[in-house]
Point group: D2
């Protein structure tokens, strides 16, 4: 049994790690931290997770926890992971960091978008950006995985093959994303109260969402040159799920079926990527609670644009599921262990 | 591997059987019928269930299917199961019938409430009413299980111990139940359209819901004399889940903690019944997608009434999950096989 | 133009007063208070109410406001109205208090349920309990109206005629109520966050909701003797609306049509009470945003119980609409002024 | 009193006309048709509209109705308006047609997108495209107003001033629109059932929505040359409202505040257009049930794109409210008569 420790277990992504790991056959959760809920049983905060009878939240004390486990998931607020990562690496532990602290290769970008100083820029170098479909080999031997943001996962996966094959114009990308309310975290804010999200829909962080540099970093890398995108995020009145609608001008004339073929070929061995057939487009319901990413494609011949539509569950493939997928790869387990469940319908 | 066949697989309960059995290690779904969708692949109707790649819906032809499997789930409309049950029993097959056709021991009650003639009253006798927590021994050797209705499951489970111990007055029971929209089935009706259920809440079938006689049958049996209840059903603007609030006058003065103790004692060995501690009451979210029934109790000393609140997922413990639990008991599998998953949060 | 002042205008009931008064032809809102938002324009908090261009929230300073208006609405937290009422009465102003501070005739009941001392028990005597359908004459000349709670309005209105005519047994009343999330007020609480109310349903304050004594006071009065009821409240995943399902044993055998006739006769001149015909029951959608109370009735002959189902919008007939109705009566306006709008569909 | 007749009154737009006209002081609804519900009272279909006590649906018989009213609203399926318009014009009546039949100036476009022959292309010429903010003078004297589609209203209004002032590149427009479920009409379809829209979000009619040519026609006209756009529509899990997020490359460098200034100047005398200040963006809640269009703007300096976000209620400003606004202009009433209500909050 692999010993697993969760730093920051009382939020939605921490809770989702607990839920997923409850169904994982080869891991044991040996500890979980929460500053606010230290001393409480896990099932006081999460009555649905009654199977964790004897697990209590504890305060994060690096000296106490640093020898308890083989692998550490950090589901901490941005900025809080930096030092924990540093100390766990010193202690030779494996880490999957769900925060943004080690995602951006350029520390100045991190500081510009997150308004936080980066204390360990040298560690950034060794961090692997944790989209397993793109970096599986590096993840196998990584000590530190920077688990991607939810929106970036939904945008990078569909666009990657088309930039790689130089089919779209990198200057023309628009990503219009919509996320369920759990994406904001387990926050107490009037704008996230039931009455003010229900029957509403709105854009937020217009043209300044922090996931922008992360998306541009990965897309620029595959495009072979710096690119900038328009990326607008919206809040959906539902709990889980992201749908991204992505637009880009074609550099060559291709048909819809060719676009689909490019996606299928690129992801043919990937268990969590489902490319839909021509005329079908993904919806959020079919991926909710799962680690799958569904992708549909359409060429608009009238405008010479490629339209890509992708869906993921923001808390699973967009966070904790992808984290477990990364752990499976590091530990040498089957990549799908603990992640095979399919969506409830309806 | 146990060979399983599903008659009526295109509705919500049929789909839910497919979903649950996809995670069951010792069964194989060898066939599934649908009159409307005969010829289509399962994943055309249920894109989320893409793992059933090669399974197609077929028309229900008893001669063709009667030797295909070891056990048959019937998720057919009321009235349609009667003859299929008769023929499968002749062929010595095990059957779990999710319709109401064999639930009522008194065929005249069936005919009065369902406005349908019962052609095989003699078969009713051998049918076991499939609440495993009450009839486990009989289910083990049953050829035919009449799988209970969703509302009855949520009402009988909490009340049973109190009637057994003669603590409440059987003449005073009021059950006020609320169900998510999937309880109505995968029907095309304007009153079930999104716009007309969303942001609404309403009672329906007031004082004439067909689940009434089934509840009264089981409660009368344990009370040792005929009783009648008031049972009102309401439609919640959510997909899955039932919450029943149940009221009854106490015959003896007991405290809330004693009421909870009675429940805990009665269900102590039952893996799917969770009795909440004093002051806690169940919500729908914590059981959604699971086979659990959560029960909370409160004595109102001011009025000498016992208040019981229970929640289940109408499609799981209220239908297909309970059916799989019954199958596990019949087949000698662990009772929880395929049913261990806990609820998504949030 | 009647000058109107709102104390406590930044919550949902305060906002609803602003919304309703925006469409009232004979009033002018001359001021509105909010401690947290003092200094802000009304439309900063309520962008939909852009018509209040020049109105700013101010801090509640009784000396500054006591001469500004003819009538004062108090939408303050329980306990906070007491002193304001005292001072405004000294200043000979008319007051409609939306809090519970002056609803209970017995100050010891207030103190027992609200855990707050009552400093002005002598003022309670002159307060009129503001259900206009029951106390219209007293309201006409009242200086202080204690505007009823939302749940009590939905329960007292349907039961009143049957207790008055001695048709039901007062010892057997069960009121099972369900409310939308705005009933909790504009509060910042994790249990009221979108993700934790959406797709959920739960009971709360089981057997100890503070509206209980208010309901019992009014029902006892009409029954002519003290009665106690079971009253359980539940949280619906929708914004606005209450549906109460009410059960009571009949003392005489009556038919459903007679029950409906009793309601129709009692409320025949009341513009806001709609009694539905036999076989029809009210839903929340049809009263949302309106000041109407819809009532349906059913006699269950099998159990000799009367079942009453009522719906109101908790913020309108359950709070601010009823308050404006009371103001109209006091001021001698048409009772329906500003309150004629019908519900959106869908 | 202006006599008004509604052809096609049992759907959501027909119902919305009834709701709005119930609050209009200078009109009387003299008749309403429905083929399916002929003979029924209006309030049988719409219990919330109980004030139409004596109005019954009738079958559409042009001979019977053609002299009954001064102005006719046609809320009929596409294709069904053509002949009714022809006959009413012969009879010298004013018509506001809510279908697409007379929106497209080029009949071949109509036939290509709607797969329906156009029998009266000569009438198209005199039809005025009914966005009052753009065509008020023509509407005043129009006999036939072609009331715009919901999506086009939400897209043309924000883009128009920027194309007029030649600030954006017409080749680069992407409109990503999201609509509530009432936009699909009062249809009985499994894909519009509650369970299958709730907690879901999906794109539909990808790159082939019928509102495309209507948007392109109006934008091309103001741009002074033909343009094509990418326009993708999505289904939101809420009842009412459209939010459109619109992207276009700037031809000149402008700041956000200049973009806002352009909008404010263009719409400064328009009572139903609200331009939000810098940093604010519209949400659906604030326009629900109202005839307002809220618009926010942002220049993304990083990409030189203008981002426009607009919201309307698809049934009001997107259909029946705009139709009444057009009627008010034709009849010489105040443009806002019957349309002054502001949104419920929450």
């Amino acid at each position: 049994m692999l010993k697993v420790f969760i730093c920051g277990g009382s939020g939605y992504t921490g809770g989702e790690l607990l839920r997923i790991l409850a169904g994982h056959r080869y891991t044991e959760v040996v500890g979980v931290t929460s500053e606010k809920s230290a001393g409480k049983h896990v099932n006081e905060l999460f009555p649905a997770f009654f199977i964790y009878k004897d697990l209590k939240f504890e305060s994060l004390d690096i000296e106490k926890i640093k020898n308890k486990a083989d692998i550490y998931f950090l589901a901490l607020p941005h900025g809080k992971s930096q030092e924990i990562v540093f100390k766990l690496l010193q202690n030779n532990k494996k880490i999957i960091d769900l925060s943004a602290d080690f995602r951006l290769k350029d520390a100045s970008q991190y500081e510009a978008w997150y308004k936080t100083q980066h204390l360990f820029p040298e560690i950034i170098k060794e961090a692997v950006y944790g989209i397993p479909e793109l970096y599986k080999e590096q993840i196998k031997s990584a000590r530190l995985v920077a688990n991607p943001g939810c929106y970036p996962t939904s945008i990078i996966l569909p666009l990657y093959p088309f930039l790689k094959e130089d089919i779209i114009d990198p200057e023309t990308i628009v990503a219009d994303s919509k996320s369920g309310a759990s994406g904001a975290g387990r926050k107490v804010e009037i704008s996230l109260s039931y009455c003010e999200v229900n029957e509403d829909f709105r854009a937020y962080n217009v043209a300044k969402h922090r996931h922008t540099p992360e998306i541009e970093q990965e897309l620029s890398r595959v495009a072979g040159k710096p690119l900038k995108i328009d990326f607008i995020t919206h809040l959906l009145p539902l709990n889980r799920g992201i749908l991204s609608t992505i637009y880009a001008k074609l550099k060559k004339t291709i048909k819809t079926e060719e676009a689909i073929e490019i996606l299928k070929r690129f992801y043919e061995n990937e268990p969590f990527i489902k490319i839909l057939q021509e005329g079908k487009f993904p919806n959020i319901k079919d991926v909710k609670g799962t680690n799958y990413c569904f992708i549909g494609a359409q060429v608009n011949q009238r405008t010479s644009r490629l339209i890509l539509i992708s869906t993921i569950d923001n808390l699973v493939k967009g966070a904790s599921g992808q984290a477990v997928q990364n752990m499976n790869i590091i530990a040498g387990f089957d990549e799908t262990e603990g992640l095979q469940s399919i969506a409830l319908f309806p």
